[in-house]
């Protein structure tokens, strides 16, 4: 695949001469449907008009612009791809779902170059699956920071979570930080201590592995900090700006609540980055997710129309259009040049995001189920009585992730005639932290089975890299069918595994 991609890329570069040939082929009138957020409908109509007037390719679009919110568009597309909008906008957490559903057309080589060059790296990564771009970055302002009521919270306390909690309890006002119902917010504590959960996708939008360090000493520090907040009777699991109207003193939310909170608090509104919490004398500054919105193009059956629509998507996400959207709707741009613009830098909401930026983590691709798994951490943390309980919360999280996906370098699956198993229902998962595994291989006609990554049960890729002790087994290679390993002699074997390679020794 990579090789093919390289060839395609080389050809594409060689054929950039074709750009002129393209103009003659692509000219024409096309009927398309465009889905954008309700606020942006009028502006988008205007922008498409401008495109019709200014483009040099002779393209005219009869566009029907419909109001479909970024939250709904993915669900609607997945329900029926063919009936969906030709161009639609969505929040990046829907990206992998859309790629899996076949609802996004790949970007061509030249379009990919343009997008990569003009937008910031985090948003390009958000629009990439495997090594293929599938969408056009539209905004880069999906992050959260802290709004507070200056009349209740003294200026000097805003950098300390403990002081903020104390202030809220003293004033009998709420500290709203959506811990219980959103993994997006409660990951903040883990990023503070340097934990990560990084997922890798292949070119079809499927998740192939994860590098997750939530269940670690650093993760334990994070949940200790989290416990301070969720244990407070005045912690409120919410990210609605309207909480200020009903006795909240602090709300952690994003730029989208700015106007609303301004309306409620007026001059009492304070905006700043997230505070730090303190565990064992160490300060940890709360992190955050930094996400974006993307624009996608539906796969077209007709190549000419596909190329024309791609041209429009490129236009709608370029510097000028992003600036127009910033001026009209205060959407933070993903375009690097636009981000450097003075007006953008001066916007208070975006300024707070910028202040939080050093502690933020680009959202990248995250498996849809992760949000459901990670959001219950805070419930577990709240119920925990002691350190063991906190560790149990992390274990619970880790096991759920492990039970769903291949955790690269974290687990192996042993299936086979060892320990008396003989069929597919008798599987055992061993984790790296379990250390060595003892296998009893009884005398039988068939002393084989397979060692694979969990989740790779019936897939095309096995897992077998025996480094030490190869002489004890017959290696059946990658093409596993029913097994990939056969022991040559009965006996007791110890299998150790360091995350990359397996060592087999006869006891």
């Amino acid at each position: 695949m990579k090789k093919l991609f390289a060839i395609v890329l080389a050809l594409a570069l060689a054929l950039s001469v074709c750009a002129t040939a393209m103009a003659s082929e692509i000219a024409g009138t096309y009927d398309i449907t465009v889905w954008v957020a309700e606020k942006a409908v009028e502006l988008t109509k205007q922008q498409i008009e401008n495109f019709n007037k200014t483009n040099e390719l002779g393209i005219t679009f009869n566009a029907t612009v419909e109001a479909v919110s970024e939250a709904d568009s993915a669900t609607q597309m997945i329900t029926d791809v063919e009936a969906g909008g030709d161009i639609f906008c969505f929040a990046q957490d829907q990206f992998a779902r859309l790629v899996q559903a076949g609802a996004l057309a790949k970007l061509g080589a030249r379009a990919s170059e343009t997008v990569t060059a003009e937008n910031d790296a985090g948003t390009v990564a958000a629009a990439t699956s495997g090594d293929q771009l599938y969408a056009y970055p539209l905004t880069s302002d999906n992050g959260y920071f802290m709004y507070y009521d200056k009349s209740i919270i003294p200026e000097e306390d805003v950098d300390s979570l403990e002081k903020l909690i104390a202030d809220c309890e003293a004033a009998q006002k709420y500290f709203a930080f959506e811990m219980q119902s959103s993994a997006w917010y409660n990951a903040s504590f883990f990023f503070a201590t340097g934990c990560k959960s990084e997922w890798t996708t292949d070119n079809d939008g499927n998740f192939i592995s994860v590098n997750d360090t939530f269940n670690s000493p650093a993760g334990l520090i994070a949940v200790k900090g989290m416990k301070k907040l969720v244990d407070s009777p005045f912690h409120l699991s919410s990210s609605q700006g309207s909480e200020f109207a009903s006795n909240a003193a602090i709300v952690v939310t994003g730029t989208w609540s700015f106007e609303e909170i301004k309306g409620i608090l007026g001059d009492n509104m304070g905006v700043t980055d997230l505070p730090s919490f303190e565990v064992d004398g160490q300060e940890y500054h709360l992190g955050s997710f930094n996400g974006c919105k993307l624009m996608g193009v539906k796969p077209q059956v007709d190549a000419v129309k596909g190329a024309a629509v791609a041209q429009l998507a490129l236009y709608l996400t370029n510097f000028d259009c992003q600036m127009e959207r910033f001026n009209a709707l205060a959407w933070g741009p993903s375009n690097v040049k636009a981000q450097a613009d003075e007006a953008v830098q001066a916007n208070p909401g975006l300024a707070a995001l910028l202040k939080q930026a050093p502690y933020s983590v680009p959202q990248g691709q995250i498996h849809g189920s992760w949000w459901d798994i990670a959001k219950v951490i805070s419930d577990d943390v709240k119920e925990a009585e002691d350190e063991a309980g906190l560790q149990a919360a992390l274990d619970n999280y880790y096991n759920k992730i492990a039970s769903l996906f291949t955790l690269d370098n974290n687990a192996l699956l042993f299936v086979g005639a060892w320990n008396g198993w003989n069929n597919a229902d008798d599987t055992d998962t061993y984790y790296l932290k379990d250390g060595a595994v003892t296998l009893e291989v009884p005398q039988s006609d068939y002393m084989g089975g397979r060692i694979v990554n969990p989740g790779k049960w019936d897939s095309d890729k096995g897992f077998l890299q025996v480094t030490e002790g190869k002489e004890l087994i017959q290696d059946l290679g990658e093409d596993i069918g029913d097994n990939n390993i056969v022991f040559l002699a009965p006996g007791t074997y110890t299998v150790t595994w360091d995350g990359a390679a397996i060592t087999i020794a006869q006891n």
Binding site: G108, A303, G306, N396
Partner: protein
């Protein structure tokens, strides 16, 4: 448990009588279940015999029939046309022509693809000059499943029509032998609006029910045996295929997820148990409290009866959606209720109405009472007024207390009349999506529950869990379908058992 004679039964104490009745009921269950199976077996046997008889009849008709009949076996309606019933014959012939055309044109494709649900997923091409990727779509598993089922329907309809056509020949031969005349096309047309009028009237509704009700339900049931989900949507990404009973195994397996997550079966069991508890309380609290409110308003000496009723009915006038969402906010951690209690100084910290599992469950039931009482009050008011007043009068003269009157007159009468209503509202509450979804959305989350199917909360009913599964990250339609089937089984069992115990069904003669 042996059956007592009447005399022995009457000798029992009150508690003894109750125990005896309960015992009889539970010892009777195995026999009742056995009876169901016996009935099913009977049905199967009868069906089998029926098919056998039909086949024998078809064969003997062919053997004894004349050449017109024999040709009709292959060219439908030939016998009718040859014997002068042109209209009938042409209709048969037309049906056969349409059927053959459909089968050749597309039916054969749908049918041949049905076992595999498609062979070729979408393919992608890159165009160098235009620098674009285009997608070519091929088989569509979803359509194959749908139209495959439709094709099978059509084939069954064809076989039935063919059978009718064979029988027509036999009947026609017999009529001609006996020297009578056959019906002409005119007679047929007249009979459509005359002696066959019932069929004419029902033709359209029956077709509608088949296509818009039976077919979708069958389709949904079949989805439970496939792997149809977000990543196998059957058309734009990858095809889905049959997986047999795997999904049922998944849902009903006791094997926990890796490292201590609950098994699907445990999660399902917990949700089912809460669903039943919820349905029980939601139904009966509403029923009795609504009845008491109605009785209280009905009492002699209460003034402004109409006023009280109007106030209660006002709550019905406000759409449930609005009131439920509003109440959900009222009981939130920083909502009006907690705010008021804290301002009064009665509590120091907010009560966990939606944060704690038990609190949330109780709160949901209580709010449901507040919503349900007016409806029940309306229903029961009418029925209470229908109870003959002389019953109460004679009871009073005999010295019965209020409680006795209620137990011996009001309640039996009410149960008799509203028995079927209770049953339907119970099943309705099992699927009471609105109240749960709008009040809590299933919260608080159950951390131990299997996460593969979205998050499951402590107040989630099966129906809201199903909703979460279909709209969750994985869009596991197949699992939702399995749960749907199981919900149906649960409701069917409960309904059948209760229905057969109801006084209104058992002794229709009472209270006449």
């Amino acid at each position: 448990m042996k059956q007592y004679s009447d005399l022995e039964y009457l000798r029992l104490s009150k508690g003894g009588k109750l125990l005896y009745k309960l015992g009889r009921f539970f010892t009777g269950i195995p026999r009742a279940v056995g009876n169901v199976f016996l009935k099913l077996w009977d049905l199967l046997k009868k069906g089998g015999q029926g098919i056998g008889r039909e086949c024998a009849d078809i064969a003997s008709t062919f053997a004894h029939g004349d050449w017109k009949t024999k040709i009709s076996y292959f060219i439908m309606g030939f016998g009718n046309i040859a014997r002068g019933q042109v209209l009938r014959g042409l209709l048969f012939l037309l049906f056969e022509a349409v059927f053959i055309f459909f089968m050749v044109n597309s039916g054969a494709y749908w049918l041949s693809m049905l076992p595999s649900l498609g062979k070729q997923g979408p393919t992608e091409e890159y165009n160098f000059v235009l620098d674009t990727y285009t997608t070519k779509y091929h088989d569509n598993s979803f359509q194959i499943l749908l139209y495959g089922v439709l094709t099978i329907f059509f084939i069954i309809a064809f076989i039935y029509t063919w059978r009718v056509n064979v029988r027509q020949n036999k009947i026609a031969e017999q009529i001609l032998k006996s020297g009578k005349k056959l019906k002409s096309g005119k007679d047929d047309l007249r009979s459509i609006v005359d002696d066959q009028f019932h069929k004419t009237l029902l033709a359209l509704p029956l077709t509608g029910i088949l296509i818009f009700t039976v077919l979708p339900i069958l389709f949904m049931i079949l989805v439970a045996f496939t792997n149809y989900d977000g990543t196998h949507n059957g058309y734009t990404n990858s095809l889905f295929t049959w997986v047999g009973l795997d999904n049922f195994n998944t849902l009903l397996s006791w094997e926990g997820g890796a490292g201590g997550t609950q098994s699907y079966a445990a999660t399902f069991g917990e949700v089912l148990l809460w669903t039943l508890i919820w349905a029980f309380f939601a139904t009966f609290t509403n029923y009795f409290l609504g009845m008491f409110v109605a009785m209280a308003i009905n009492k002699k000496g209460i003034k402004f009866k109409k006023g009280w009723r109007t106030i209660l009915v006002m709550t019905i006038a406000i759409p449930q959606f609005i009131s439920l969402l509003y109440v959900s906010k009222m009981f939130a951690k920083n909502g009006i209720v907690n705010g008021f209690l804290m301002d009064m100084g009665w509590i120091q910290t907010a009560l966990p109405f939606w944060e704690d599992a038990t609190w949330a469950r109780i709160t949901v039931i209580l709010i449901n009472i507040w919503i349900g009482i007016p409806y029940l009050m309306l229903i029961t008011t009418g029925i209470l007024m229908n109870i003959p007043a002389d019953l109460y009068e004679s009871a009073r003269i005999d010295g019965a207390s209020g409680w006795q009157q209620y137990r011996k007159i009001t309640l039996p009468y009410m149960l008799f009349v509203t028995g079927p209503y209770l049953l339907t509202s119970f099943t309705g509450n099992i699927n009471n999506f609105n109240v749960i979804y709008l009040l809590t959305g299933g919260a608080p989350t159950n951390p131990a529950a299997s996460s593969a199917a979205g998050t499951v909360g402590y107040t989630d009913l099966l129906i809201t869990w199903l909703f979460k599964i279909t709209t969750g990250a994985e869009s596991q339609y197949y699992l939702a379908s399995v749960i749907g089937i199981l919900v149906f089984v649960v409701i069917a069992v409960i309904s059948l058992v209760v229905y057969n115990l109801m006084p209104s069904i058992k002794n229709e003669e009472d209270f006449r």
